[in-house]
Structure formats: C-alpha cells, structure tokens
C-alpha cells in the first residue's frame, strides 16, 4: 500500500485527463501562478482543513509567506511533507467521487455523492450511490448511468460527470490503485468539474508494471532497518520487555497476543518473511537489529518450520552470540519446532540456552525471564 500526497495524486488524475486546479509545490512555484490561491499542507493524514492546514491567500507573495508558516511545524502532530499552492476555484457545488477496491466483494466499486466537501463518513448512507464493476465486464454504460441518475444530474452536467466516472475508473485500473478519491469534486461557476483534492493509494505489489514505483520508507528506525534486511519488523512499545522473532504473519500475531495475554511487555516483533533462505548470517543480522533498536530484556525466537530447516536458525543464533557479546544465553528463549528439530537442538546444546518445544510454555518462560531481569 503506497499512500500518495495530494499533489502526487493530482498528477495521476491529470495524466488521466481529469481537470485539477493549476498549482505547484511552494519551493518551485510556476511563475504564472498568482491571484486568489489556496495553500495546502501535504500530509499523510486526514482532517488537515480543521487543523489549519488549508489556508487562502491573495497573490503569490502572501501564498509563499503562508506556505513557509505551514511548512515550519507539524500539523496536529503530523509531519508536513511539503506545501502545495493552487488556484482557488469559484465553487458552485461540491460532489464526491471515488473508485476503490471492495475486498469483500472482490471487485472495484465506484462511489458518488452530491454531498461532497465533507467527511464522507458523515454523509448519510442514503445520499451515497455505489456501483460495483465486474472486472470481466469492465465499466459498462448502465453502471455509469446509474451513478449519474443517482446524483440527479442532467444535460451537460450529466455528460461531464459520466466522462469523469470513466476517467476515474480507468485511473484505478491503469495505475493499479487501491483507491482514487476526489473530495470535493467541484462544479465551478463556469460549469466544469475540477478535482479540488485527491487521495490516491497505489498497490506496491504491482510495482513491476510501474517502473519507479516504490514505497516511501516509513515507520520507526527499527522498522526501516528490518525492511532493509527483507524482514517485517513492527515496533509495539518503548524498548525493553520481550522482542520476538517468528516465521509467518499468523504465528507473529499469535505470539504477540499470547505474551500480552500473559501480561508480558512486547517491544517489537519480527516476521522473517522467508529470510531463512538468505542463510544463517541473515538470521544473525536480524537478531543484531532487534537487540540494537529494541533493547529487549529477552529475545524470543519462535519458529515452526514445515519444510525449511531449523538448522539455519540454530546456526544464525550461534553466529549472533559470537558476534554480540551482550547477547547472553539467559536473554534468549527459543521455541523451535518442525523440520530438523533434533539436529538444531544438537547444534545448540552446551551453550546454556533455553529451548522449549511448545508454543504456550515458551511464551510463559519469556515473560517469566523479563520479570526476573526487571526485578534484578
């Protein structure tokens, strides 16, 4: 999931032929942009209008001054990534239009409303028109007509809106997007539809079809370092407590749940995500990353392999203990189950390590150990 900033989303809309106000980023404002302007904080969060992130300005100089102010500090606690300045529209009416993937229906859905400009969650259900699109059919005229009729549009406005629906649907498919949302979609006093805002979410898994598409590095230092090791790290709480390393998203969630149910503290979890195939050295790197960033009292390694060899994990643990003098055996709880279990245990024997075969007892031991360390 790649969430775009407003100005990036608008570039995508514009490339699909959808009208957007003339504008630019404040540091590189087009020379021609002047007059009645809007200055908009570019943030990865909703509700920026209420937080003071959208302000009007008369003329270029004022707009740039306001932009500097907005750029200078976080907006309601959220970092301001950039500031975008665009022409203010002469608004007649505000609509809502989006195309998104409905995961439960398993198909794209178009949503339109004549009540744009407000939080769409606040729009009464009866004022929303929804139309699913069977991907084997694509967007058919009857689907578009139903949306247009649902908004009570007629004449030229109906034609213009119908064209927009097609463009938005095409943008969703052509850009492998999860969401294209225009709110408000402004009908200007001179009768044209213009996208006054844009929220676009792209599918990272489709990056191979879109050269240059890459998720922005997000998350905490630990989470970014995990990503660099091709594993998925999630920081849960401040440092200390248990940090746990698992294979598989399911086992990761279950381990987090179990330790918390036992009233243990979890600083973070790592899902190896197939990193075992990069060998024991990578496993040692993951342990080092966890130790450095989360400073846990105890590291739990909870691995259940059906086919991959637990020997790689065992070797990785030994390498990490060699490399990291403060990774002492009393800080490790190992739950190793599955393929080459006996071999892995034999490799780890004689190092003073706690190895437990069952999930529940291993979690109990990890929590017990953190309590001992905290008490000491």
């Amino acid at each position: 999931m790649i969430v775009l900033l407003e100005h990036e989303g608008k570039a995508i809309l514009a490339s699909c032929g959808i009208a957007v106000p003339d504008g630019g980023l404040y540091r590189d404002l087009p020379k021609t942009l002047d007059g009645e302007l809007v200055v908009k904080a570019q943030v990865f969060a909703g509700g920026r209008g209420k937080a003071g992130g959208i302000r009007s300005a008369s003329g270029r100089a004022e707009a740039l001054r306001v932009a500097e102010e907005i750029a200078a500090r976080p907006l309601a606690g959220v970092r301001v990534e950039d500031v975008y300045i665009e022409h203010r529209l002469a608004i007649d009416r505000e609509f809502y239009l989006s195309a998104l993937v409905d995961r439960d229906l398993g198909m794209p859905v178009l949503v339109a409303s004549a009540d744009g400009g407000m939080d769409i969650e606040a729009v009464p259900r009866g004022r929303l028109v929804r139309q699913s699109v069977d991907p084997l059919l694509g967007l058919e005229p009857f689907m578009v007509e139903r949306l247009v009729r649902g908004l009570g549009l007629s004449g030229d406005q109906a034609k213009a809106f119908a064209r927009l629906v097609e463009q938005v649907y095409r943008a969703l498919i052509a850009h492998d997007a999860e969401l294209i949302e225009i709110n408000p979609l402004v009908l200007t006093k001179d009768g044209t539809f213009v996208a006054a805002d844009a929220k676009v979410v792209l599918d990272e898994d489709a990056a191979f079809r879109h050269p240059g598409r890459r998720a922005q590095p997000e998350g905490t230092a630990f989470e970014r370092a995990s990503r660099a090791l091709e594993v998925i790290g999630v920081e849960i709480a401040p440092t200390g407590g248990v940090a746990a390393i698992m294979n598989g998203a399911g086992l990761t969630m279950a381990t987090l749940d179990e330790i918390i149910a036992l009233e243990g503290q979890v600083s973070g979890v790592v899902e190896l995500h197939g990193a075992t195939m990069h060998g024991a050295e990578r496993i040692a790197d993951v342990l080092a990353c966890v130790l450095e960033h989360l400073k846990p009292e105890v590291i739990m390694v909870n691995i259940h392999f059906q086919f991959r060899s637990l020997e790689t994990i065992a070797e990785g643990i030994l390498k990490a203990m060699d490399r990291l003098p403060h990774l002492t055996p009393d800080r490790l709880v190992l739950r190793l189950r599955g393929e080459k279990e006996a071999e892995a245990r034999a490799m780890l024997a004689g190092h003073g390590l706690t190895i437990i075969r069952d999930f529940g007892p291993a979690c109990i031991e990890a929590v017990r150990l953190t309590r001992l360390t905290t008490a000491a």
């Binding site: 999931m1 969430v3 909703g46 989006s98 998104l100 993937v101 409905d102 995961r103 439960d104 398993g106 198909m107 794209p108 859905v109 949503v111 939080d119 769409i120 969650e121 929303l128 069977d134 991907p135 084997l136 498919i173 492998d176 999860e178 969401l179 949302e181 709110n183 929220k199 979410v201 599918d203 898994d205 489709a206 191979f208 079809r209 999630v234 849960i236 698992m246 294979n247 598989g248 998203a249 399911g250 086992l251 990761t252 969630m253 279950a254 987090l256 749940d257 179990e258 918390i260 149910a261 259940h304 059906q306 086919f307 189950r337 599955g338 393929e339 999930f359 529940g360 979690c363």
Partner: protein, 311 residues
C-alpha cells in the same frame, strides 16, 4: 482429448469404501504450474513422497523434461490433454500469477491453489472473477493450500506429520494452521481436511464457501475457523454457520495487532462496521460459537464444543 490410461486410478467412486474428502482427494489429478522453479520442484518432490496424485507439471519451454518422476508440459492445455488433470497448484512468480491462473482455468482446471505471494490486487480481482465465472474453486492468492491427510496434499504442510481425523480447518493463515494442528494432534485429534484461503485482501474462496462443504462432509464432526481482523469474511461465515448443524469453533488472531493505517475515508465506507479482532470474536460468541482469541485456547474450546454437541 484425454482418454484415460492404464496408470489411472480405477474409477471406483461408487464402489470405494473410503468416502471422498472435500475439494481434493486421492482421485484428484494434480498439476504444478511453475514445476521447474525451486518452490514448484520442492512441492513436486513432497507430493510424490506423500502419495499425492501428482500427474504432471507446467513450465513453458520445458516440455519433455521430467521432475520428481512426472512429465513437464509447455501449457496447461497440453498437460490436461495428456493427463486428465483437474486440479493445479500454481507456484509461479507474482508477475506471472494472473496469466497462469487464467490459463489453468481456461484449460478446465476445477480446483486451483495459487500459492504465489505478492500478487497485485487487481490481478487477484480478475482471477477471482474468472474462477467464479468458470464455476471453479480458486484458493488464494497467497494460500498455503488444501490437504486431506492421507489422500492429497496441495499444501505448504508436511503431510508426514499429519494425522487424519474428524476435524475440519478453514484458515487464512498457514502458520496459525500449523499451530492449531499441532495442538489438536497432541490431544489426539486429527484433521479431515485443512483449507487455507490465503492471507490477501481479495481471495477466491471464502469461509462461507467452505463451511457448507464441511457441513456435508461425513468425515467431519467439527470445524475450526481461524480468522483475522480486517474485511467482513468472518461475518459472512457467521451467517453460513447459522445454517449448519455441526459445531464451529472460531479462533480470531491478532487481538493486539497495531491498527492498520487507514487508507482513506472511502475505505471506511466499505469496512462498514467494526472489523477488529475483538469485534469479530464478540460476534462469534454472540452467535453461540465457542470463540477464542489465543491460539493456546483452541483445543480446550474444541473439547467444550464437542462435549456440548454430544450432550
């Protein structure tokens, strides 16, 4: 056109003493798409070891080769013509997953497991729609597969560790399934069939599709449903359960998962209602199911449900 061969299992469906399992069983005729890749090859070797009825593999440009003793074909169409295959497991890379799925479905494959991870969302949407249009069963993308122990193994599960029994399992997650099976086996319970739906947001087969199969399956006494936060498939499952006589035990994982960053307001329109793990757990309980939020509680919940059913 496939006319059958001497090595085919005898067509004894009306005479056989062991009943058929749901989705796949020992009369299935299975292909692996991407059989020459590392994942496909390792699946092939495992299936042959497990006695799973693997009849061939597909890898464009590799026709005439043989992997784990089964022939490789250039296309699914050729493979189906030569072997009579009706099921396939796809282990191609994500960029090729949609094409491979459409090819398999076009060639008449009735049960398709897409093991491939990181399939683009819109590709998942198209393969799901085409599978439904063909009346075929698609598991995945990102599915750990389906296994009926002792009969057929199209799953990322080690068949040699599995005991067959009378509990059905339907799950989105592979690794949670391993844990639940392990605990059940420790207490003496085996599985009739294990169905992994896949961990992606858009998947071909849902809980509500699988539950009626278990209800009709005379080898299953009870179903364990393993769910997660996000989406409404677990709620659809509750409606399906209301039409079942057999007990269903729900385990909803990720009670403590950090909330996913909301993608936008429009997402919320469709995530209508509360799709958190806690809300799902409460909904299963309100519907009268044994439902738990810890993997270590599943077996005792199963035992409670079995006692209740016997009473």
């Amino acid at each position: 056109m496939y006319r059958g061969s001497e090595t085919d299992p005898p067509d004894d469906r009306c005479l056989r003493t062991t009943p058929l399992a749901i989705i796949v069983d020992d009369t299935s005729r299975i292909l692996i798409q991407g059989i020459t890749g590392p994942t496909g090859r390792s699946y092939a070797e495992r299936m042959v070891q497990d006695g799973t009825p693997l009849v061939g593999g597909v890898a464009p440009g590799r026709q005439g080769q043989s992997i784990a003793g089964v022939p490789v074909f250039d296309s699914v169409e050729d493979a189906v013509a030569a072997t009579g295959a009706d099921a396939a497991l796809s282990a191609v890379r994500s960029a090729l997953a949609l094409g491979a799925a459409l090819e398999a479905l076009s060639a008449g494959i009735r049960t398709l497991v897409v093991y491939t991870e990181n399939v683009p969302l819109h590709d998942a949407i198209r393969m799901r729609a085409y599978a439904r249009a063909c009346g075929a069963r698609l598991l995945g993308p990102n599915s750990a597969g389906v296994i009926s122990p002792g009969k057929a193994n199209l799953a990322d599960l080690n068949g040699s560790n599995l005991r067959s029994g009378r509990i059905g399992i339907v799950s989105k997650s592979g690794t949670l399934t391993y844990e639940v099976i392990d605990d059940l086996q420790t207490r003496g319970y085996g599985a009739s069939s294990i169905v992994c739906l896949g961990g992606d947001p858009v998947i071909g087969t849902t809980y509500a599709d699988v539950l009626p199969l278990f209800e009709a399956d005379n080898q299953t006494d009870l179903v364990v449903l393993i769910g997660e936060p996000g989406g409404r498939l677990e709620y659809e499952a509750i409606s399906a359960i209301s039409r079942m006589k057999k007990p269903v035990v729900a385990y909803i994982a990720a009670q403590n998962a950090p909330p996913e960053k909301r993608m936008g307001h429009a997402g919320a329109i469709y995530d209508s209602g509360d799709t958190s793990a806690a809300a799902k757990l409460a909904a299963f309980r309100a519907a009268g199911c044994e439902a738990v939020g810890r993997v270590t509680e599943v077996v005792t919940a199963v035992e409670r449900a079995l006692q209740r059913a016997a009473a």
